[in-house]
């Protein structure tokens, strides 16, 4: 007993060190998968309010750029309205295709309030949540192109897993020849991702546009993803190694659109379950 006490006294600092390290590592391990931990802290009130102060200050410095982008987008949208109005006049109101298209996609604008783009596990938090009709699995895009997919939602915030995350696989097409492949990110650089599953028989060129395939219920067809930056084909490869320059600049991302597909439930219901 005496010896034990002496031992404890002698090594008390080291024991405390071990205990604290074990607690820290347990916290780290138990809160994996990391999304929960990230969400736990990234979306909790106090931390968000502090980062929001920084954000609000930062907002003033980017007003110029944001204004320009909004103006450009306005112009584009106006152009589209004109096109659609003329189309509507041409086709009768009873055209079912028109009503179907109208039913198909709805957009919720949201602002990015927290973001990590430099680690191996990137994430984005936006300021719309359950209250605004955001649900897990919905796609997210910006005016530049695809951003990611909503992975978790609470009342006021949503956590978005961006394209630049090793667990993301996005079904894409090469715009020119409609060939389908999967976009996957595993690099450190948040401007580039890889496009897999494009066989060597396909003709791919640098500069080809990559868009969403429309083969999921998350994104409309032909949303911009990026541009082919480098194509390599080694002897013996069955697939190309394609590097895509993403059209979304994640570091400059401020406003996004969350995509709601009212037909998503029906879409999912008809897929055979294993």
């Amino acid at each position: 007993m005496q010896n034990l006490l002496r031992f404890l006294q002698r090594y008390s600092n080291f024991l405390l060190f071990i205990v604290l390290e074990v607690v820290a590592l347990l916290l780290f391990v138990l809160t994996q998968p990391y999304q929960h931990a990230r969400f736990f802290s990234a979306a909790n009130g106090f931390v968000t309010s502090v980062t929001q102060v920084g954000d609000n200050i930062g907002d003033y410095f980017t007003l110029n750029r944001v204004n320009r982008q909004l103006a450009e987008e306005n112009a584009l949208l106006r152009e589209q309205i004109v096109t659609y109005q003329s189309l509507m006049e041409k086709h009768s109101e009873a055209d079912t295709a028109y009503h179907y298209a109208h039913l198909r996609w709805q957009f919720t604008p949201a602002k990015v309030v927290d973001m990590q783009t430099a680690t191996a596990h990137n994430y984005i938090v936006v300021n719309k949540g359950l209250r605004d009709g955001v649900q897990e699995g919905q796609g997210v895009m910006s005016h530049d192109g695809v951003v990611g997919i909503v992975s978790k939602v609470n009342t006021h915030f949503a956590l978005v897993v961006p394209l630049i995350h090793p667990k993301m696989n996005l079904s894409c097409r090469i715009m020119r020849n409609r060939q389908q492949g999967f976009l996957h990110w595993d690099g450190p650089n948040c401007r580039y991702a890889g496009l897999n599953d494009i066989g060597r028989h396909v003709e791919v060129q640098e500069g080809d546009t990559i868009v969403t395939s429309g083969l999921t219920d998350r994104f409309p067809q032909d949303v911009m993803v990026g541009v082919v930056d480098k194509v390599t084909l080694r002897d013996g490869d069955t697939n190309y190694r394609i590097r895509v320059r993403l059209s979304t600049d994640f570091r400059g991302l401020e406003y996004v659109q969350i995509i709601r597909n009212p037909l998503s439930d029906e879409h999912q219901a008809i897929i055979p379950k294993e």
């Binding site: 405390l16 916290l27 802290s41 783009t117």
Partner: protein, 163 residues
């Protein structure tokens, strides 16, 4: 008075870290954690108190970096090692009653202490965050660049303060 000074220093470092240094990025390679200056320069408390302070500072940092446990582990490690390293470097440790600084421990010792603790802290943070060695060279580069910037800030500030 000294307690207030240390708390203020930590708060200032925390704000700088969260609002400025966390956003540097630099192709994913530049992630300096300058807040560890608060731990390195803290006066020598009893060792258990040292570690508990580091534990709480790490936890606060983790909340802001959304990485539960990573900074806590790294901070506790450097708080455990700091008195051991100082005891090896400085003969009469009892004389260091105020902050650990260039004045109190000497330029040479302070630089050596800061370099070792900073490299260790950043190594733990980056390794835990990556969770794998599959991007070893990028990890190494990120570790070296980030540590260099942290050291530049801490040593630069300390030297200016000294003069």
């Amino acid at each position: 008075m000294n307690v207030v000074k240390n708390i203020v220093r930590f708060l200032v470092l925390l704000i700088l870290q969260v609002l400025l240094f966390n956003h540097l990025n630099g192709w994913g390679l530049c992630h300096p954690y300058i807040y560890i200056m608060a731990l390195i320069c803290m006066p020598l408390l009893p060792r258990w108190a040292d570690m508990l302070v580091a534990f709480s500072l790490g936890l606060v940092m983790d909340m802001f970096c959304s990485s539960l446990g990573i900074h806590t582990a790294a901070c506790v490690l450097i708080a455990y090692l700091r008195p051991l390293l100082l005891a090896k470097m400085v003969q009469d440790l009892d004389r260091v009653t105020q902050d650990v600084s260039i004045e109190s421990v000497g330029l040479n010792q302070f630089v050596r202490l800061t370099v070792v603790l900073c490299l260790l802290h950043h190594a733990v943070v980056f390794l835990l965050d990556a969770g794998t060695l599959s991007h070893f060279w990028i990890l190494l580069l990120r570790w070296m660049i980030s540590s260099a910037i942290t050291l530049l800030v801490i040593l630069g500030y300390s030297t200016l303060n000294h003069d």
